[in-house]
């Protein structure tokens, strides 16, 4: 299933946040969206997943989601969004219960996704007992449980420290290698974008417009930290964004 954004424009009140964005999200690839803070990256993701309605333009699905897909457009949030009163398994079963999957059927799915995210030993743990990295693993496991056609990742690693971020990036790459998923990955971290993106969309500062769409040809598994080609790409992205980021930083909030 492909997604297409057709001249999407969005405003909050009188303030335009996104302007005229057209993008194609092909199946089986990860599209990273980067841009300076406040450029509407997260808004764009909410529009793609149908949590908000664009003021103009539209988001289109091409084709039908694959069979067995419970929730075609599935988010992974920056702040994990786990229910603190449910265990790890309970948080995953939450998204299965509404589809009538309970008991042994649910247990099979839960065990499978926990194994894929290396969480087997945390089946009954409560979120407060887990570190940030573990919590985000649970959120990723929950997203995998509904077998999404497209994963929408909203700065999933931004609340984590650098080491955990590195580990989780490797996990995401491994997950993709095992079963390639379609992903939209919003981040302000250029290193994440060059590690995980098959293509990278660079947005300008508010109102966010598509400045450039860059394809990265290196296979995900071959990308290592410190790779000169990726470093060069990251430097180029930073050049693209630097002035925008500076200008965005100096804007007054709440105008």
């Amino acid at each position: 299933m492909d997604l297409t954004l057709d001249r999407v424009t969005h405003r909050y009140g009188d303030m335009p946040v996104l302007k005229d964005i057209s993008l194609r999200i092909p199946a089986g690839r990860i599209l990273c969206v980067i841009g300076p803070s406040g450029c509407g990256k997260s808004t764009l993701l909410r529009l793609i997943g149908g949590l908000e309605r664009p003021d103009e333009g539209q988001v289109l699905q091409l084709g039908t989601p694959p069979p067995g897909c419970l929730n075609p457009l599935t988010y992974v949030f920056q702040d994990f969004a786990l229910l603190p009163w449910r265990s790890v398994a309970g948080n995953i079963s939450l998204v299965l219960e509404d589809h009538g999957i309970r008991g042994p059927a649910a247990e099979t799915i839960i065990d499978d996704v926990l194994a894929r995210t290396k969480l087997n030993d945390f089946h009954n743990a409560l979120p407060r007992q887990l570190s940030g990295g573990m919590k985000q693993r649970v959120a990723i496991a929950r997203a995998l449980a509904v077998n999404p056609a497209v994963m929408l990742l909203d700065e999933p690693l931004s609340a984590l420290d650098a080491q955990t971020r590195e580990l989780l990036m490797e996990d995401l790459v491994a997950l993709w290698e095992r079963a390639p998923f379609t992903g939209v990955y919003v981040t302000h971290n250029l290193a994440e974008a060059v590690r995980l993106g098959h293509s990278i969309a660079v947005l300008s500062r508010r109102p966010g417009q598509l400045r450039e769409l860059i394809d990265v040809d290196v296979p995900l598994a071959d990308r290592q930290p410190g790779d000169p080609q990726l470093e060069a790409l990251q430097a180029r992205l930073w050049q693209l964004m630097k002035d925008e980021a500076m200008a965005a930083d100096q804007e007054l909030l709440d105008v």
Partner: protein, 264 residues
């Protein structure tokens, strides 16, 4: 400044409540001992304050005569019936206010108008509406516990983490599932702490309700003693009410511990 090495002075600490076992009991005991001593020595006259030991014997006599259980069972059944009625409707209305904008717009002013009315002032009205029997007593306690429960419940629903609700929607959960599995558990801590206030108000109103032609009941007992200036019996009744307050607060604490184990 000398060059000798000194430890860095410690400036942290404090401003963090620590559980101190027995401190509450010690305050009670100290206060009672002071009263006992004062009344025995004579610098507190028997007219100002009854002697704690006398109050205790009154209580024991009351228990021996079997009247204590008559009073207590009647009062407890009134408190239970009234507050269960008031609290359940209060939680229902509070959740509805939290969930539906129209209910919110329509009912918040009404609740704000009801809240400050001293319910005791409405006693005659309740007698006309519900009769002089148990009905009016239940109604008075129910109304008294209803308003604080509504206010704390919709506050608790408003405070549920919106990102969790957004998460539920993003996974395509039904509205009923979101309410049952996300909103209600998320509001539970606020609802439970609101119950403490509601039940305390219920106990206050119990005494008011038993002003209405009740022969038995802790409130009736206190009022009789009060009109006779029988301070020992008055205080014996007050002690029972206090114990009731402590007991209900302890029960809610227990419920919090069991239901909110997930909290830090």
């Amino acid at each position: 400044m000398s060059d000798a090495a000194r430890p860095v002075p410690f400036r942290g600490g404090g401003f963090r409540p620590v559980a101190k076992r027995g401190a509450g009991l010690a305050v009670f005991v100290a206060l009672l001992a002071l009263m006992e001593w004062g009344t025995r020595v004579g610098w507190i006259s028997n007219l100002t304050l009854p002697r704690p030991s006398d109050v205790a014997t009154t209580l024991i006599d009351l228990a021996r005569s079997g009247l204590l259980w008559t009073h207590l069972s009647l009062s407890l059944s009134r408190l239970l019936a009234g507050s269960v009625l008031g609290i359940t409707t209060g939680i229902g209305v509070g959740v509805a206010i939290g969930l539906f904008s129209y209910v919110r717009a329509g009912l918040i002013p009404l609740v704000a108008a009801l809240f400050p009315i001293p319910k005791i002032a409405l006693l005659p009205l309740f007698v006309i509406w519900f009769g002089i029997d148990e009905g009016s007593k239940y109604a008075l306690i129910a109304l008294g516990t209803f308003t604080p429960t509504v206010v704390s419940t919709y506050g608790a629903v408003d405070n549920v983490d919106r990102t969790l609700i957004r998460m539920g929607q993003s996974f395509g959960l039904s509205w009923a599932s979101i309410v049952r599995k996300i909103v209600l558990p998320g509001a539970l801590p606020g609802i439970l702490s609101g119950l403490r206030v509601s039940i305390a108000i219920g106990i206050i109103l119990l005494v008011a309700a038993e002003m209405l032609g009740a022969e038995y009941g802790i409130g009736a007992y206190i009022l009789q003693a009060g009109s006779l200036y029988d301070l020992e019996r008055l205080f014996a009744g007050v002690v029972i009410l206090s114990a009731l307050g402590v007991l209900s607060s302890w029960l809610i604490g227990l419920a919090e511990k069991r239901l909110l184990r997930w909290r830090v």
